[in-house]
Amino acid sequence: MSLLSATSVTAHYGDFQALFGINFAMAAGETVAIIGSNGAGKSTFLRALTGLRPTTGQNIQFDGALIAGLPADAIHKRGLAMVPEGRRLFPSLTVEENLQIGAAGGRAGHWTLDAVYDLFPDLRDKRRNGGTELSGGQQQMVAIGRALMSNPKLLLCDEISLGLSPKVIKDIYAAVPRIQAAGTSLIVVEQDVGQALAVADRIYCFMEGRVSLTGTPATVTRAEISQAYFGLNTEGTAA
Amino acid sequence: MANRILQALLALTILALALAPLWAGRADLRLLMEVLAYLALAQMWNLLAGYTGLISVGQQAWVGLGGYLFFALTILGGVPVFAAFPLAALLTAVLAVPTGWVAFRLQGAYFAIGTWVIAEVYRLVAAQVGALGGGSGISLPVAVAKSIAETRMGREYVMYYIAFALAVIAVAGVWLILRSRWGLALTAIRDSEVAAESVGVNTMRSKFLIYVITAGLTGLTGAFLFFQKLRITPDAAFSVNDWTAFVIFIVVIGGIGTIEGPIIGTILFFALREVAADWGTWYLMGLGALAIAVMLIDKRGLWGAIHARWGLSILPVSRNLPD
């Protein structure tokens, strides 16, 4: 059955419209990637799902219940967690406290401090450090761990590769299968198309607030992606 | 069209005020003096907070300094009254320079309370100046008051026109500044400081200049206010409620960041006071509640809302591109 279904989601920033009727659906256990260039509306869409960005009179179903219009903390308690763009750790909290905050919603399950430390062993010996004293990659791990601590049914990851070196990105993505194994579904927002294709069962490509392409990694060609990504053909320019 | 009508109305009001001594009784004149003085104070605070975002809760410092300097100049310095007014204003502005140097170390809400602390310092220092009666305060020798006119009515008229001049200087002054090249910069700062910087506006200097100028004119108003009261004491001169709280309410209720706002606010403030005066404390509570309500309902204030709704403006400062 479908875990999340959103129909014609729109969002505005003041008088500027960022999303134009996004239709989106995914089943439990799936991992879906959303790609698209800057300003395509990826983050805005995730914020709409989590309730951070109020969206007017449209219909978002999560886990069989209507969540559109609920306050963000209520949605979170239903098992929808997000790793925000740019990590957003709490600087005045230690690594461990950052993780504990994630559990504030009080959902029990597989993910505990120890489970997270097993997932990202680097963090265990940094547990007493301030969140900002870590490398970018480690910060991203904390951000992910923090979201996992609420034992979500669905985890939204907004550009977890942002500003990280390919090596680090690989390390982080190495954790994804284990997250899926714990029964968590994922939506991964990426500009890093390679990564997206690697982890996702299906992809959505956004362009200027609309879905410009959907498919599975197997079916979509790189040309299509470039087209959907920039509205142009890259080989054309490169040559 | 509506603007034309409002402007005509304004012109008529000014004319009527200019001729007030012809039609107003002694009590009315007194009231008008107070109204005009408060209008001046309101315009100054609005210029400061509404355009440079410097929310000062310490304007009483300038009112008090203006008053004390005026008394010092006339009593100790023997300076004639009409020379003492501008001098007091000038000296107040001069004192605002080092004051600002300290106050500008605080931002936002901290700047607000910081200016208040500084005003307190001035109050306590004034209380130490024995030559001006220390904490007892001092009376203006009747001779000085009489020096502006022999007859009682004559004095009333002269004082009225001083107040009238004050208000005109304040309103016209703010209007001219805002229409000037520099006013453009101030409005830009109001809307986005970082963008203003990026197009070449030296935001720091503009803010500081405004801070000093408003201090000077506020001091001038203070000099007048206490010339009229005849007696100055530290507590009266540096009262936060009389010289800052009311002024802030006037501006905010009327509409901060516009020239019309303070005018509307002042009229409203005194109209309310006339009907509700005998409610005493209740009136003040109502005033506070009104200010809170404005913030909760529409923080642009009365005129701000009107302007946004119907695009009215009595004293336009906008420059249109003719096409």
Partner: protein, 288 residues
């Protein structure tokens, strides 16, 4: 010896100022928000205890409890109903709303209690003292007051750094926007913070009532002392706030040695001096 005594008395007085400041510091810490009516709320607390004990004749313990509960509830409600709606990037609304509250409170108190200055009589408690070596004597009341300050600040520290609530409060102070993603509700968290602050304000008010005379207009001066203590100590640092209060108290008593007129003045001047040499305060923790 005079100077030693002055410093001693100043330190004790500093306890009161730290109590004044703790609530302010807490609200700034969590909400980046300065309550201009803070001093007036302290005075409200003082009148409340006066009414509870003198007018209504409640036994002290009951009276104190009643006042503290009342303050906390009022704080929670006030934040939830009014202040939450004006918090934001624009600093004018919070300043103005609390300024309005300040005027309303002062006049309401004037209406109810008249402008006469009052004091909570505590019999021998306020006159008894402990003699130290060299003719020094410490009043029992000021001493208890100082110990209360230590306890209150220690307590707040504990809540902030040892409890889940404190963790959530610090997280909110770092980045309120994403706290909902952790299942936190900003409005409720803010209201809880204000409730805690109001509780402390209540305690401060009760000591104010016992320590000195107060009247409906006594609030603003208390706000300024509190504010100075916070800035001197450094934003968002509670122990720093205590230090700030002590520095302020000592500055005042030493100033009084120079001459009665310099008591309050000296406090303000020390504050301005520190502002000039250390704009971020002596022990900053948080970026203003």
């Amino acid at each position: 010896m005079i100077w030693v005594n002055a410093i001693l008395q100043g330190v004790l007085l500093g306890g009161l100022y730290a109590l004044f400041a703790a609530g302010l510091s807490l609200m700034f810490g969590v909400m980046r928000f300065v309550n201009i009516a803070h001093g007036d709320f302290i005075v409200v607390g003082a009148y409340a205890i006066l009414t509870a004990i003198v007018t209504m004749g409640l036994p002290p313990v009951l009276g104190v409890a009643a006042v503290l509960v009342l303050m906390a509830v009022a704080g929670f409600a006030g934040q939830y109903v009014v202040l939450n709606r004006v918090l934001g990037k624009d600093i004018l609304p919070p300043i103005l709303v609390t300024f309005g509250m300040s005027i309303i409170l002062q006049n309401a108190l004037l209406e109810i209690y008249s402008a006469d200055s009052r004091k909570l009589p505590t019999g021998t408690f306020e006159t008894s003292s402990i003699d130290l070596a060299g003719g020094l004597a410490v009043g029992v009341l000021p001493l208890c007051m100082f110990l209360t300050a230590l306890a209150v600040i220690g307590g707040l520290q504990f809540v902030f750094y040892r409890t889940a609530l404190g963790r959530m409060l610090r997280a909110t102070s770092d980045d309120p926007e994403i706290v909902p993603l952790m299942g936190g509700n900003n409005n409720r968290i803010f209201a809880i913070a204000t409730a805690m602050a109001s509780l402390v304000v209540g305690i401060a008010g009760i000591w104010l009532a016992m320590k000195t005379q107060f009247d409906p207009a006594a609030g603003p001066a208390r706000l300024l002392f509190a504010f100075e203590a916070v800035i001197i100590g450094g934003l968002g640092n509670l122990w720093g706030t205590l230090a700030g209060g002590i520095i302020l108290g000592v500055a005042q008593t030493l100033g009084a040695q120079i001459g009665g007129g310099f008591q309050i003045l000296a406090g303000h001047l020390v504050f301005l001096l520190i502002l000039i040499v250390r704009p971020k305060g002596l022990f900053p923790r948080m970026k203003g």
